[in-house]
């Protein structure tokens, strides 16, 4: 049991994360201040929601690179719409509209992928470009800073605040609740519903999933629609936290998100991955970028370090599988005389 636990990518990422925190904390005590942790939570929220969407797509054996375009499209259009309507109410309507727009765009992905069985990478590369181009040319491209009041207030919607010894007040933003709720939802769907198991089954073997009687088309529609909704929500949170709507934002982050998800144990080949692992992967990437700042390493180096971590993080499981295979051959060879034919019966 312990061996199985230790051989999991989740455990490995968790230990690495813990080690990294201890190391950075030792170098720079600022790391352990509430202010820094609230900052980390804030950075992890948007990336975490994206990553859970990516996780579900990866498990099903697909890949989605359009979610950033969906996010920025939904967020920017929602802001433009409600601003033009001179909407004075609360943030909930922003979330609702943005999620609906995300759902619509996700369904476009689902249509091409499920109906025509096109490769998911090609479809989402295409839609990413389409959504973004449509946004910039039809809806607008300028940065909106005079956002509606509901959205502006949301940037200060803290769960609670702490004032440190220097008199600076810092708060934990309520957006983190979105991440928690979505993570729990995704966990329950993936682990305890037949829909979730059909996502794993689809990623394991599409043909077998069809033969066993899963409605694969429906599963795929759910996946891409769900990712669209998550992207809409995450995009809105991003806009709220930054107190502006910038049509040039977000797109470009998709590889970091996919990398964090893979780092957390999701297989790029499909069929494997967990919510816990994904959250750990996201935290690792977030802590890494944050700590480089704290350690005074120039921002340009961050890309190099993150790239290196991604390569190492994905290479470790591969190496481990190779070693296990070699060991399996050995056991079979040596077990030859020890386990006679009756051993199984």
């Amino acid at each position: 049991m312990l061996g199985r636990l230790l051989s999991k990518q989740e455990t490995l990422v968790g230990i690495t994360l813990l080690g990294l925190c201890l190391l950075i904390g030792a170098i720079n005590p600022v790391f352990w201040t509430p202010g820094n942790w609230f900052d980390l939570a804030r950075s992890a929220t948007v990336m975490g929601i994206f990553a859970i969407g990516v996780l579900i797509v990866l498990i099903s054996g697909g890949i989605d690179v359009s979610f950033t375009a969906i996010a920025v499209f939904s967020m920017y259009s929602t802001t433009v719409l409600l601003r033009n309507l001179n909407y004075q109410g609360g943030m909930w309507l922003f979330f609702l509209i943005s999620a609906l727009i995300g759902l619509g765009l996700g369904l476009i992905n689902a249509f091409f992928i499920a109906r025509f069985r096109l490769p998911t990478l090609i479809v989402t590369l295409g839609t990413q470009s389409m959504f973004r181009g449509f946004l910039l040319f039809v809806i607008g491209s300028r940065i909106i800073r005079d956002i509606p009041p509901g959205m502006a207030e949301y940037s200060r919607a803290f769960l609670f605040t702490v004032t440190d010894e220097r008199g600076v007040t810092v708060g934990l933003h309520s957006a983190v609740l979105w991440l928690v709720a979505i993570a729990v939802l995704a966990f329950v769907i993936l682990r305890y519903t037949m829909l979730g198991r059909s996502i794993y089954a689809l990623g394991g073997s599409r043909e077998a999933a069809e033969r066993v009687g899963f409605n694969v088309t429906l599963t795929q529609v759910f996946i891409y629609a769900f990712v669209g909704v998550l992207a809409g929500i995450a995009g809105m949170i991003y806009g709220g936290l930054n107190r502006q709507a910038n049509a040039q934002d977000i797109v470009g982050q998709e590889l970091d998100v996919i990398a964090a998800t893979v780092l957390g144990g999701a297989s790029i080949m499909g069929g494997r991955g967990s919510v816990i692992g994904t959250l750990l992967g996201v935290m690792l990437v977030v802590v890494m970028s944050n700590s480089l700042v704290l350690m005074g390493i120039p921002a340009t180096w961050q890309r190099v370090v993150i790239g290196a971590i991604i390569i190492i993080g994905t290479a470790v499981p591969v190496l481990r599988t190779l070693r296990q295979q070699r060991r399996a051959v050995r056991v079979e060879t040596e077990g030859e005389s020890l386990a006679p034919a009756g051993g199984r019966a």
Binding site: V329, T333, E336
Partner: protein, 497 residues
């Protein structure tokens, strides 16, 4: 007499004018093991598909459990308890053994939520029925093929199967695993479940079947009690001709220096202190159970997993084989066990496959290929190995197993190797093609090639080899001259522990 579970009467099916099945009748009783035997292309798969409801027959009657079925759809067949275990098992490698067993049952009950305790209970119950025990939490992708097979059987039983159809179930199994599988099948049979066992391995059919249905070119040739059949009769019925294979006699000079000498070759954890020699024109068999180190030895000779210590000499000269390139440079060729993934470019044309190994020799002066020589080589090898294809430009996957194996052979022969290692040369190949492949191998040896055949197919070794080495736990434990040996002796030595 009890009522038959399934009875097919005068079933016919044609695909675009080509008759796949003609007037085929089959009756299966509960608790009966019925073998369906035939060469590739004889109509076996069409018959399975008709029973599974995937294909509709053009004419004929289907009666299941006393009810006549006008049109049988896959869901009807499943509802009646007909379960097909396909060659690839249709399992989920990324899911646990327990979930693989229980999943289709949960789906059939239209469940929305997963109760993991129930999943385990269902799986445990299914394993108890066939009297096996597997690790419920292991991922199916990590368990050996034989266990995957068992998972597939358990899954079928969970669905309350009344008839389990097993399509070429033993292709990837070793002798010992096959015997374990037969025990399981007998357990299933005792539970009143009928089994339709599709195979072209005659020994298996004779070992397990109560009844055998032999079809050839879409027609039933024999439907008989298995006790009335023996191997030569079955071969005759399957192929329509008597296949008398002659034994191979080596006529080389025993005093001549060996072509290949292996001295104290060791690969830690795989095999140790292996020494043997191979003379020009010899066919040397290496046998042993799976895990005996036979495949690892071949991989070491071919540089895939180089040995740790020991010496390899070719024509008297010591050579170092650390990579596949080294092996090829020294004239060693290797035809892998799994030709589908390791030996062929399935999607590419037969012609491309044939020249893939020798492109460098087919260049004109510059870097480009000499089209005429490419064409000559393709025509030559299609003819020499009698590869049966209307057009070499068709993809390699359009060929039958036996012909695919010829393409792999030809690809290597074109590079004129001195030593050719064949790992399981006729796995998944039907009887007729098998004997033709054996003749080709013998002819090549007659031309001076040194051949090593790695196999646990004992009749095959007896017919093709002049010497046989037996490996056990990574060592060569015995060496036989074929002429001093009978099949029974060799079987006895192979399985003796």
């Amino acid at each position: 007499m009890q009522q038959p579970f399934l009875s097919l009467t005068n079933i016919s099916k044609a695909y675009g004018g080509v008759k796949a099945l003609e007037d085929v009748s089959l009756t299966v009783y509960p608790g009966e093991i019925h073998c369906l035997v035939g060469e590739n292309g004889s109509g076996k798969s069409t018959l399975i598909k008709i029973i599974a409801g995937v294909v509709q027959p053009d004419s004929g009657r289907i009666v299941i459990n006393g009810k006549e079925r006008q049109s049988l759809r896959p869901m009807d067949a499943i509802a009646e308890g007909i379960e097909v275990i396909y060659q690839d098992f249709s399992l989920f490698p990324n899911l646990s053994v327990a979930e693989n067993i229980a999943l289709s049952h949960e789906l059939a009950q239209r469940k929305r939520w997963v109760n993991w305790r129930e999943v385990r209970a269902i799986a445990t119950e299914a394993m108890r029925k066939v009297n096996v025990s597997l690790d419920l939490d292991a991922l199916v992708g990590d368990v050996p093929v034989a266990d995957k097979q068992l998972v597939a059987i358990c899954r079928a039983l969970v669905q309350n199967a009344r008839l389990i159809i097993m399509d070429e179930a033993t292709t990837a199994l070793t002798e010992r695993e096959i015997r374990a599988l037969f025990d399981v099948i007998n357990n299933v049979k005792r539970g009143g479940v009928a089994v339709l066992f599709v195979s072209h391995k005659l020994d298996e059919v004779l070992a397990i079947a109560d009844k055998a249905l032999i079809i050839r070119n879409g027609r039933v040739v024999v439907d008989a009690d298995a006790r009335e059949l023996d191997r030569s009769k079955m071969t005759y019925y399957m192929t329509g001709r008597d296949i008398e294979e002659s034994m191979f006699e080596w006529r080389g000079d025993p005093e001549a220096p060996p072509l290949l000498e292996v001295r104290h070759l060791t690969s830690r954890g795989n095999f140790s202190d292996v020494s043997f020699e191979l003379r020009s024109g010899e066919i040397l068999g290496i046998t042993g159970l799976l895990g005996s180190g036979r495949t690892e030895l071949a991989l070491a000779l071919f540089g895939v997993q180089p040995a740790d210590s020991g010496e390899i000499r070719i024509a008297g000269k010591p050579v170092s084989i650390r990579s596949i390139q080294d092996a090829i440079a020294n004239g060693i060729g290797y035809v892998p066990e799994d030709r589908l993934t390791e030996g062929l470019f399935l999607e590419r044309s037969i012609a491309n496959n044939l020249v893939a190994r020798t492109l460098d020799n087919l260049r004109s002066k510059g870097p480009l290929l000499d089209a005429d020589r490419v064409k000559t080589q393709i025509t030559e090898w299609v003819r020499r190995l009698s590869i049966k294809t209307p057009n070499p430009e068709l993809p390699a996957k359009s060929l039958s197993g036996g012909n695919q194996q010829r393409v792999v052979l030809a690809k290597w022969l074109a590079s004129k190797p001195r030593v050719l290692i064949l790992n399981g040369p006729t796995v998944g190949v039907d009887v007729g093609s098998k004997s033709e492949l054996h003749e080709i191998i013998k002819r090549l040896a007659g031309e001076g090639l040194g051949v090593i055949i790695i196999s646990d197919d004992i009749p095959e070794l007896m017919q093709t080899c002049n010497r046989i080495l037996l490996m056990r736990r990574g060592r060569i434990v015995e060496q036989f001259e074929r002429k001093d040996l009978t099949e029974a002796d060799l079987t006895h030595h192979l399985v003796a522990v």
